[in-house]
């Protein structure tokens, strides 16, 4: 028994060594540093760019929404301050025409008709922005087994992992803290959306998969969603994949953190108050203690 355990441990070790080695080869083949982008909402000073959020929503609506829901964001949020701030009337119309309607009981308390199809009604301002699928199973059935995740918090649920020397690590950490760097999620999303390339010669991409430099493992079920010119912007911004990716990543950053603008604005006042009070308290303390010396 003991031999068996040590044997299995040894094989596990060998396996991990192997996978480690192949992982290294893979990253060497397609090494792609996820670059920090100059987001308008970056750091402790940044705020969302309303026009960018509007464009980003357009990208979401015309491309992403075909597969991905945004169920924790409500239509009303699109008209609220700190976000894209579309006119309320426009959002109301958008909700009413949103293809993915809200399941609702009928007057008899039934949720579905005789054929099993759910009763639905058009969305209102107070409703969530639903994706096309009723549940994960339906999504997988439609997507060849892959599950398009809901995008409400995707910008918070992803991050960028940096491989740095241990001695540099604390300084980089300190730098991030002082800058207020929290944009790993959008950095990753941008890198993902612009990261579709031809696979290196030694990599075989699975059936139905696409090669992506930013995605962990590099093989992703989502085909490249964006192409130059596929969306027409109203404000004259160039219709490039780069701009689409940037705008929709910013939009998703807002979707995941709709209070960011307010949070930072309150933060500045709080910091100012605390700094001034700390200084005053310090001089007060010195004055009190000066009697002792």
């Amino acid at each position: 028994m003991k031999n068996l355990i040590s044997l299995s441990a040894a094989s596990l070790l060998a396996l991990s060594a192997l996978t480690g080695a192949s992982g290294a080869a893979e990253t060497a083949a397609a090494h792609h540093e996820i670059v920090r982008q100059p987001w308008s909402f970056a750091g402790f000073k940044g705020q969302f760019d309303r026009a960018q959020l509007q464009r980003g929503f357009q990208v979401y609506k015309e491309v992403c929404a075909a597969c991905h829901g945004l169920k924790r964001v409500y239509f009303r949020n699109l008209a609220e301050p700190g976000g894209p701030v579309f006119p309320e009337e426009a959002v109301r119309e958008l909700a009413a025409s949103w293809p993915n309607q809200i399941p609702e009981m009928n007057d008899q308390g039934e949720i579905a008709g005789k054929g099993g199809e759910l009763f639905k009604r058009p969305a209102k301002l107070s409703d969530p922005i639903l994706g096309p699928y009723l549940n994960d199973r339906q999504a997988r059935a439609a997507q060849n087994g892959a599950l398009p995740p809901d995008l409400s918090v995707i910008a918070k649920a992803r991050g960028v992992h940096r491989e740095v020397h241990w001695a540099i690590h604390p300084f980089l950490m300190l730098g991030d803290i002082l800058q207020g760097y929290q944009e790993g999620g959008p950095d990753y999303l941008y890198a993902l959306l612009t990261g579709y390339t031809e696979p290196p010669a030694d990599v075989t991409v699975g059936e139905g998969m696409s090669f992506n430099t930013a995605f962990p493992g590099h093989q992703l079920a989502m085909p490249p969603p964006l192409s130059d010119g596929s969306i027409t912007y109203q404000d004259g911004t160039k219709p490039t994949v780069d701009n689409y990716a940037r705008d929709v990543s910013a939009f998703l950053a807002w979707a995941a953190d709709p209070s960011l603008d307010q949070r930072k604005r309150i933060g500045w006042v709080v910091m100012l108050y605390l700094l001034v009070t700390t200084v005053l308290l310090y001089f007060g303390k010195r004055r009190i203690w000066s009697k002792l010396h």
Binding site: K2, I5, S6, A9, S16, G20, G43, F44, R72, V73, N77, S152, V153, K156, A157, R158, G159, W166, H169, D176, I177, G180, Y181, Q182, G184, G185, P216, A256, P258, S259, R263, K264, I266, G267, V270, M271, L274, L275, T277, T278, L281, Y282, G284, K285, I288, W289, L292, H293
Partner: protein, 428 residues
């Protein structure tokens, strides 16, 4: 110091009426206004007050969050998003609470390291110190269960890994560990049942903690505070009344600490967490790399340092049990510090060799924290084992031996001398 009499004299009829029935104002006046505090305390001594602030902030924000939270496996994740998005200023309260847990640990670690450096654990403050260790353990249990409540991927898998530690007891008595783990879970895996009981305990433990904090403060007021010179109060000029002297300093410390606190709350609310916790818990998908919150990383590194072998010593089937014992032992060893340290001098200021040992130990804790954040493989395991040995060596070898071989620097005759220079005592 508890014998320290209070000069409180009620002036109003109402005050006199109270004082004859429940002299709480007399006690507060004696213990928190006139209470003699050493005049040489530095800003590291403000962390007691800072910790009190952290505790109160966590309870207040926690009570409000509990009004909007739902401890169920289907609703918990949504409840957090509901708080972040729909509750008025919910994002702020939630950030205060989540960041507050980290701030609490930053403060408590500074507080503990201060105690180690200045010898605050030594006689006559052993009980005070041990109560502190109890507080640390309660904090850890509370924080661990709190991290499970958002029901994200790290919540779920962290809970799975940590509760599974008890299954190591199976090697002591077959079936014992499994029985304990299933009892903790309320089932055969971490589930909504586990979440519900963790929520109950997460609400309960802070009040138990508050009770132990009261004992901690009580014990402090019996022995009086230690100080950077590690000297006892000998004469009136060695101390100043707590108010306004220590309180004025405490407020400076508290507000300076709040700057750090607010920086994270408003500008980096998710920096100290893990992105995976924004993905709803999924028992079928294991995250590639399970890590606990930063404040558990050194202990996690010690746990994982015990692989099939430890620095070449084969551990066989006992590896996990050894890891678990070492992890809990790394905290429990603190309890014995008062007796492991053989030096009669308290403050490392006057202990040339111990001072070095202390800084090596501090570096060791940081190194273990860093290693705990990395995967347990290859060279990282080796270094985790080395630093685990140094961690325990500090308590079990350095503390007893240095006390015996070290020649301490001459101590000032009194705190007054230490502050004003010798000979000044007469003037003061």
């Amino acid at each position: 110091m508890s014998g320290h009499s209070s000069s409180y004299e009620p002036t109003s009829r109402w005050g006199k009426w109270w004082d004859e029935r429940l002299p709480i104002m007399r006690m507060m006046h004696g213990q928190f206004v006139e209470f003699p505090t050493p005049r040489n305390l530095n800003y590291l001594w403000t962390f007691g007050g800072i910790l009190m602030l952290c505790l109160v902030a966590q309870i207040v924000t926690g009570v409000v969050l509990a009004m909007h939270y739902q401890p169920s496996d289907v609703a918990a994740f949504d409840a957090i998003e509901h708080i972040r998005r729909n509750v008025n200023y919910g994002w702020m309260i939630r950030n205060f609470h989540a960041v507050g847990a980290s701030m609490f640990f930053i403060a408590v670690y500074i507080h503990i390291f201060r105690g180690l450096y200045y010898g605050s654990y030594k006689a006559p403050r052993e009980i005070l110190w041990i109560l502190g260790v109890v507080i640390l353990l309660l904090m850890m249990a509370t924080a661990f269960m709190g991290y499970v409540l958002p029901w994200g991927q790290m919540s779920f898998w962290g809970a799975t890994v940590i509760t599974n530690l008890f299954s190591a007891l199976d090697t002591v008595w077959s079936g014992l560990g499994t029985a304990i783990v299933e009892w903790l879970w309320g089932g055969y895996s971490v589930s909504g049942v586990t979440l519900n009981r963790f929520f109950s305990l997460h609400y309960l433990l802070p009040f138990v903690l508050t009770g132990v904090v009261i004992l901690h403060v009580w014990a402090l007021h019996i022995t009086g505070q230690n100080n950077p010179d590690g000297l006892d109060l000998k004469q009136p000029s060695d101390s100043v009344p707590m108010h306004p002297y220590a309180t004025a300093k405490d407020f400076v410390g508290m507000f300076a600490f709040l700057i750090l606190f607010a920086w994270f709350v408003f500008f980096l609310p998710d920096y100290l967490g893990h992105p995976d916790n924004y993905t709803e818990a999924n028992p079928l998908v294991t995250p590639p790399h399970i890590v606990p919150e930063w404040y558990f990383l050194p202990f996690y590194a010690i746990l994982r340092a015990f692989t099939g072998s430890f620095l070449g010593i084969p551990l066989g089937g006992f590896a996990k049990l050894m890891g678990v014992i070492a992890m809990f032992g790394s905290i429990l060893v603190l309890v014995f510090a008062p007796w492991l340290d053989t030096s009669r001098v308290r403050s490392a200021k006057y202990r040339p060799i111990f001072k070095w040992a202390f800084w090596v130990f501090a570096f060791t804790c940081l190194a273990l924290g860093y290693l705990g954040s990395l995967p347990a493989e290859g060279v990282y395991v080796f270094w985790a084992q080395i630093f685990t040995v140094i961690y325990f060596a500090f308590f079990l070898i350095a503390m007893p031996i240095i006390g015996l071989i070290e020649t301490p620097k001459p101590l000032p005759r009194s705190i007054t001398d230490a502050v004003l220079g010798s000979g000044a005592a007469a003037k003061a």
